[in-house]
C-alpha cells in the first residue's frame, strides 16, 4: 500500500539540515551551503542512546554530590540540588522551589525517559502515534536548556558572595556532573532523527494492509 504522502527519501532527495534546500542525496554536499547531505542522521538511534546512557550515569552523582559549599561564619554546609530546593520550600518561596524542582530534577529525568521512548519507537519496539511523539520530541528540545539554570545560579552565587570571613560560596563537583547531564541530553536530542518515527509508521501501514480493521 502506498501512502498518500510521498517521502523525499524514496525519491533520493534530501532536505539540507542547515539551509533547507532540497537536492539529490547523490551530490554528497548541499549545492547552496555546502553542508553534508543525509537522508537520515547517520547512526541516529545508537548515538542518541549512547548519550542518554551517559547522561543517566551522570544524573546520580549530580544529585548526590554538592553543587556548592557555603561557608557562613565558619559554619560549612554542603548544598545539593535537592537540599537547595528544600531550602526554598521551607522558607516558603514556593514558586522558586517549584521552578528548581521542574528545571533540575523533573526535566532531565523526563528527557531521559522521553528519549528512550523515542528511540524505542524509532526502532519499532513500541507503536504510539508519531504525531504525539513528535510533540514529545519538540518539547524535550525546547525544555532541555532550562536545566542549566542551576549551573548559572552556582556561578552567580560564587561570584557575588565573597564577603571575606562572613560568607563565601565555592562550587562543588555536583555542578560539573549536572552540567554534563544537561549537555549530554541536549546533544542526544539533537542527534535523534524524528523522521525515523514516520518511517516506522509507513513501514507498519505497508506490511499490515488495513484489512484487520473491524467492519460494521
Amino acid at each position: 500500500m502506498k501512502t498518500r504522502f510521498p517521502k523525499a527519501a524514496a525519491h533520493g532527495l534530501a532536505g539540507c539540515h542547515t539551509c533547507g534546500k532540497v537536492s539529490p542525496v547523490s551530490l554528497g554536499r548541499c549545492p547552496r551551503c555546502g553542508s553534508r547531505l543525509h537522508l537520515r542522521n547517520p547512526h541516529s538511534i545508537q548515538t542518541t542512546l549512547a548519550l542518554v546512557v551517559a547522561a543517566t550515569v551522570l544524573y546520580i552523582p549530580s544529585h548526590l554530590l554538592p553543587i556548592m559549599t557555603v561557608t557562613e561564619l565558619g559554619d560549612v554546609t554542603h548544598n545539593t540540588i535537592i537540599s537547595g530546593m528544600l531550602w526554598f520550600w521551607r522558607s516558603e518561596a514556593y514558586p522558586i522551589a517549584i521552578v528548581i524542582f521542574t528545571a533540575s530534577i523533573l526535566i532531565p529525568l523526563l528527557k531521559i525517559v522521553a528519549l528512550c521512548w523515542l528511540c524505542a519507537a524509532a526502532s519499532g519496539l513500541v507503536h504510539p502515534s508519531p504525531k504525539a511523539l513528535g510533540r514529545i520530541y519538540w518539547f524535550t528540545e525546547l525544555l532541555g536548556r532550562w536545566s542549566m539554570v542551576d549551573i548559572f545560579v552556582v556561578g552567580i552565587l560564587v561570584s557575588i558572595v565573597r564577603l571575606g570571613n562572613y560568607m563565601t560560596v565555592i562550587p562543588g563537583p555536583g555542578a560539573l556532573a549536572f552540567a554534563g547531564v544537561v549537555l549530554l541530553t541536549m546533544f542526544a536530542a539533537m542527534s535523534f532523527d524524528p523522521r525515523l518515527l514516520w518511517d516506522q509508521l509507513d513501514e507498519l501501514s505497508s506490511t499490515e494492509p488495513p484489512t484487520n480493521t473491524p467492519k460494521p
Binding site: 532536505g15 552540567a179 523522521r195
Partner: protein, 221 residues
Amino acid sequence: MNRILARTLNAAMSWPKPQVHRGQSVCHFCDTLHEGCHLNEGMAARCARCGALLYENQAGSLVRASAFSLTALLLMVLVHIFPFLTMDAATLRRELTLFGAAGALMKDGYQLLGTSIILFTFVAPLMLAGGMLYVCLPLMSGRAAPGAVFVAKLMYRIEPWNMVEVFLLGVLVSLMKLAKVADVHFDLGFWAFTGVMLCTAAAVSGIHRDELWDRLEVARS
C-alpha cells in the same frame, strides 16, 4: 520629504522576494516531499502530514531581523558595562557581571563551567545577533556580504546554545536566595540583558531560515 522617506522605506522593505521558483520542500519532522507554491507576504506553509512549519513569507523580514539584531548588539554593550545585581552586606558592596560569574568559577578550578557560561550567554547571543546583522543588512540592497554563507551556517548552528533567558532566570533565583542575607537589587545590566533576550528572539523569528537562504542564493548568483 515624507514621500521620499516612504519610498526609500518601501524599497528597503520590499526588495523583490527571491525570484527562484520554490521548487520542492521537505518537512524536517516527517520527510514528506511537498511541491512548492507561491506564498504571498504574511502567509506560511505547513506540512500536510504533521503540521510542522515549512516556509514563511513574512512582511519586512530583512528589516525586522536587522533592526532587532542591531538593537540586541547595542544592548549587549550595556550588559557588559553595568552589573546585573548589586549587593550591599554590612560595609561590603559586591556587583555581579557575566564575566565575573564565569571568572569566579574558573578561579575555583571549574574551567569547564566557566567556559560554558561564557559560551552560552556571551558568545552565542553575540554570534547570533552579529551574524544576523552581517547577513541581513547587505541583503536589503540585494548583495551578499563576503563569507555570508559561512556566517549564516555558524549562526544557525549556534542558535540552540543561546541561553540568555535561562541566565536571567538564574539571576532571579539567586536574588531570592540572597534576599535574606543582604540587601540585593537589580541593576541596569539585568534590564539590558532582558532586552537582549527579547531582541535576539525577535530577530531570529523575524526571518524564516529558508527565506534567508533563498535570498542569499539569489544575491550570490
